[in-house]
């Protein structure tokens, strides 16, 4: 079966077109936009919740988007094993929807951080990361004010024990320490996956580094991994 990506558009999404562009123009995939007021996923078999400021980030990031009509369909789709990837604000929405555990707090520095970071790939046994060669450290941009991943001790232990931590902030050589933690996240967490392995949430933006003209295509490795292993 061919992949068909569905990029959800909430009022305030601003990375929806980046995701569409990377998938359509760079990776030549089938992709469609899904308006938040609809509930039809239009036969998409991979859903992308893009970055941005859905509903103005009012109340809490992702809190209101989680109740959009389209999210009922996305939650249903995810619970049936459908592939969902939430990027940045999309990750916040997945947490609010309860599809992934934990919350994203304000960055420890209180500053909005927009820069490239290095990521150690902690779990290559997922459809999203299978194509990342062993030892490869990814360089992806982050752009967020609230990316400080927090969960209680039991949840962190369960995430670790079940190999659900997919990406950790690291140095260019893969060293993981507080020095390379941009936002204060517990265990340097940059991305996690659910137990079933079909729902991934991550703060860094793979869709922003997919076009070779930008000088870095590390993001396309993740997107291609989905396409190649579907």
């Amino acid at each position: 079966m061919n992949t068909k990506f569905g990029v959800v558009v909430f009022p305030g999404s601003n990375c929806d077109h980046d995701a569409y562009y990377a998938l359509k123009k760079i990776l030549h995939s089938d992709v469609t936009f899904l308006w938040h007021k609809e509930n039809d996923l239009q036969n998409s078999n991979i859903i992308i919740l893009p970055g941005g400021f859905s509903y103005g980030d009012y109340l809490r990031c992702g809190a209101i988007a989680r109740f959009s009509p389209i999210m009922n369909s996305v939650i249903d789709f995810a619970n049936k094993g459908g592939l969902v990837i939430g990027i940045c604000n999309g990750f916040q929405i997945l947490l609010e929807a309860g599809l992934l555990p934990g919350v994203l707090l304000k960055n420890k520095s209180l500053q909005f951080i927009c820069k490239d970071v290095y990521l150690s790939v902690e779990n290559r046994d997922t459809i999203f990361t299978r194509d990342i060669e062993a030892g490869r450290i990814l360089k992806l941009p982050i752009a967020h004010g609230e990316g400080n991943y927090f969960a209680d001790k039991e949840t962190l232990k369960s995430l670790t024990d079940n190999n659900q931590i997919v990406f950790k902030y690291s140095s260019a050589d893969g060293e993981i320490s507080g020095k390379y933690n941009p936002n204060g996240s517990s265990l340097n967490i940059a991305g996690i996956i659910n137990k079933k392995g079909n729902v991934l949430g991550m703060m860094p933006h793979p869709e922003r580094v997919a076009d070779p003209v930008l000088g870095n295509v590390d993001g396309s490795i993740i997107l291609n991994s989905i396409i190649n292993n579907f």
Binding site: L59, R60, A63, I64, F67, E96, G102, V103, L105, K106, N107, K108, S109, L110, F150, A151, D152, G184
Partner: protein
């Protein structure tokens, strides 16, 4: 009809960098006795139900399902009868 006020606080175990930053401002003002500043949310609304228990249940649902995130926040609310009185400022 009840007037409802909700206060949402970060749970004590959650760091509040915003509160800390604001407290630094207090120190710059010379208010050196200010300690443990924590910033939360205050929300008010009306609930159009006459029975108090039913109204409380509706408010509780609003608080737990949308207004607060139990992983990081606690909430408390008060119900008062009648339409909201006019805001008074000192």
């Amino acid at each position: 009809m009840f007037k409802v006020t909700v206060i949402i606080k970060r749970r004590p175990s959650i760091l509040d960098p915003q509160g800390k930053a604001v407290e630094k401002g207090a120190a710059h003002l010379g208010l050196t006795n200010i300690k443990d500043t924590r910033i939360g949310k205050f929300i008010e609304f009306n609930v159009d139900i006459d029975d108090k228990k039913t109204a409380e249940q509706e408010v509780k649902d609003y608080c737990t399902k949308l207004l607060s995130n139990p992983i990081m926040e606690d909430y408390e609310f008060t119900l008062s009868e009648g339409t909201p009185s006019e805001e008074k400022s000192a």
